[in-house]
């Protein structure tokens, strides 16, 4: 297992390199000139050209990439055009809040999604099933900013139980986490329900009942363990999307994470910040993928990782 993880981590290096190239190309293809933005609207052509030179943006693109790359592998992602701080420091400051938000969102999504899915599957066709699936459709189709505003209105403004934004203790993360995780919870619920309905028809479920096991054990242990195998893969993918979705939710709840940093960076054509953030997103995606594969193998004894 550890060998496998090590091999996967090494395998990420060339992929990251390719991703870096692609991001770099894309950034330079999108319209907008950072030199002009930095120099300001009043600046003369010569001023703009000076700024361009000082940022190294006048060099041929392959040379720019080489500079970026050779510094990046030493952990130096350059200076932000906007704040003139080291990008690495800026991002590491914002990284943990985003991870914290993603973590709690995922906990919420998994707990709510699994519970709803199991309830729906075991009460198939009854009102609890219909209600759970109605909730799930709503959860999938409701835009997260809107859900966020509704939650703020109810729990922050009307009831005053939770803060409407900002950061601090655990109570600050509750609403944004629910907002961000509900869409994923809905997808997990749906997927779990269908997968569980399928496994509940399997012969080994009948065997478990024939042993005299109680229905709760049959469902939560025998059937769900098997039903989760496909759910895990899907959940991993959703987690990736959730990282993307956090951009909006962070804005709604003024959460000090990478999402807001990214918005600002894009507006300002802050290339170093965009590049570093995108690379980090790519890395997260790959790590999640790896975790999913490992979990998949843990759940499914027919998969051997070290072979």
């Amino acid at each position: 297992m550890l060998v496998y993880i090590g091999r996967r981590l090494v395998g990420m290096v060339p992929i990251l390199l390719v991703v870096a190239v692609v991001i770099f190309m894309f950034l330079h293809l999108i319209p907008g000139d950072p030199a002009r933005l930095i120099a300001g609207t009043e600046a003369s052509l010569q001023d703009v050209e000076n700024v361009r030179q000082s940022l190294g943006l006048d060099l041929p693109i392959w040379k720019q990439f080489w500079l970026f790359f050779s510094r990046a592998i030493q952990g130096d992602f350059g200076m932000s055009y906007r704040t003139h701080q080291p990008v690495f420091a800026m991002i590491s400051e914002r990284f943990w809040p985003t991870l914290e938000l993603a973590f709690w969102s995922m906990i919420w999504a998994i707990v709510a999604g699994l519970a709803l899915g199991v309830v729906a599957a075991t009460r198939r066709g009854k009102w609890a099933d219909n209600l759970a699936m109605f909730g799930s459709v709503t959860g999938i189709s409701m835009p997260s900013f809107w859900l966020g505003l509704l939650l703020i209105e109810l729990f922050a403004v009307q009831l005053g139980w939770l803060p409407s934004g900002g950061s601090g203790g655990f109570k600050y993360v509750i609403l944004p986490a629910i907002t961000l995780g509900s869409g994923v919870a809905a997808v997990i619920a749906r997927f779990t329900r269908n997968s569980l309905l399928e496994t509940l028809r399997e012969d080994y479920v009948r065997t478990a009942r024939a042993k005299g096991a109680r229905e709760r054990v049959v469902v939560w242990s025998h059937a769900l363990r098997n039903a989760l195998i496909p759910v895990v893969t899907m959940t991993g993918l959703q987690f990736g999307f959730l990282l993307g979705g956090s951009v909006v939710v962070e804005a709604v709840f003024t959460w000090p994470g990478m999402g807001r940093l990214l918005i600002d960076a894009v507006n300002f054509r802050d290339y170093p910040v965009i590049q570093a953030e995108m690379l980090l997103f790519a890395l997260e995606f790959m790590v999640i993928n790896m975790v999913v594969d490992v979990l998949y193998a843990v759940l499914n004894p027919q998969i051997r990782l070290d072979r």
Binding site: E202, D203, Y204, R206, T207, A208, R209, A210, K211, G212, A213, R214, H222, R225, N226, I229, L299, N300, P301, Q302
Partner: protein
Amino acid sequence: MTQNLLNVSELEISFKTESGTVTAVAGVSFALQQGETLGIVGESGCGKSVTSLSLMRLLPNPPGRISGGRIELNGRNLLELSEREMRDVRGNAISMIFQEPMTSLNPVFTIGRQIDEAILLHKSVSKREARALTIEILKKVGIPRPEQIAKDYPHQLSGGMRQRVMIAMALVCEPQLLIADEPTTALDVTIQAQILDLMDRLKRETGTSILLITHDLGVVAEMCDRVLVMYAGQVVEEASAEALFAEPKHPYTVGLLNSIPHADRKADRLPSIAGSVPSLTEMPNGCRFAPRCPVAIAKCHQQNPALVQVTEQHKARCWLAQEGGEARV
């Protein structure tokens, strides 16, 4: 007079389908004594599996339902037990093995854990003691290196081995009744023989009664004391195994016996008899076998005969047999 272990009377099973409620099993009655092996044979769809599942109250519900009759185990009507009381019966007094050893074991749990579970559900022993019992029963059913196999997952075992595991799991709590629904159909011929031998040996050692469901009359001849022949949800003949083979009374049984290929006595499936089973939604008014019966008389198409004792060894559901007529074609 010894009390029967199992008494099934007028069992009726119905299914809700798109075309209304159908009665898949219509008034099946039989008894089983301690230590006896009773075979149930009949074509596909005649209701063998649903009958056996209903003994455990494990019919898939919905759509299935036991709509009538009694199932008495040691004089206690299982149909009146609470779900909790019924759980104590399952895997303890009655246990079951199924046709598909490949899919009947849970792929994500080790063999040992699955047998341990059966023990822990019914005996007050520690996990450690349960594992010791597991190893012991695995040894008993002829599994080599039981300590290792207990740590293996089902996919690491062959079909024959898995069926041995199923048998071990079924017998570990020393049930009074073992229901085996086509336990060897999915296996190779040589493995089939081994599994049947094993079941026979264990039955002798433990005195467990067996209800053996099969397509294979060869298996019946080898294993069973008595036989129930089912057709379209009803018992059409009941006899001791010898009497059935020597002197079948029901034209359907005759058809089954005649169509056994001689070269290969162990046909996998029951060979076909001309015509097909009537569908549950359009049962004939008279004898259910009449449309296919080569010796049917006028009365057969109007009235369904009852299952009556025709000789000491024999019950049959046939007008001709009741009149002492010759069933042989």
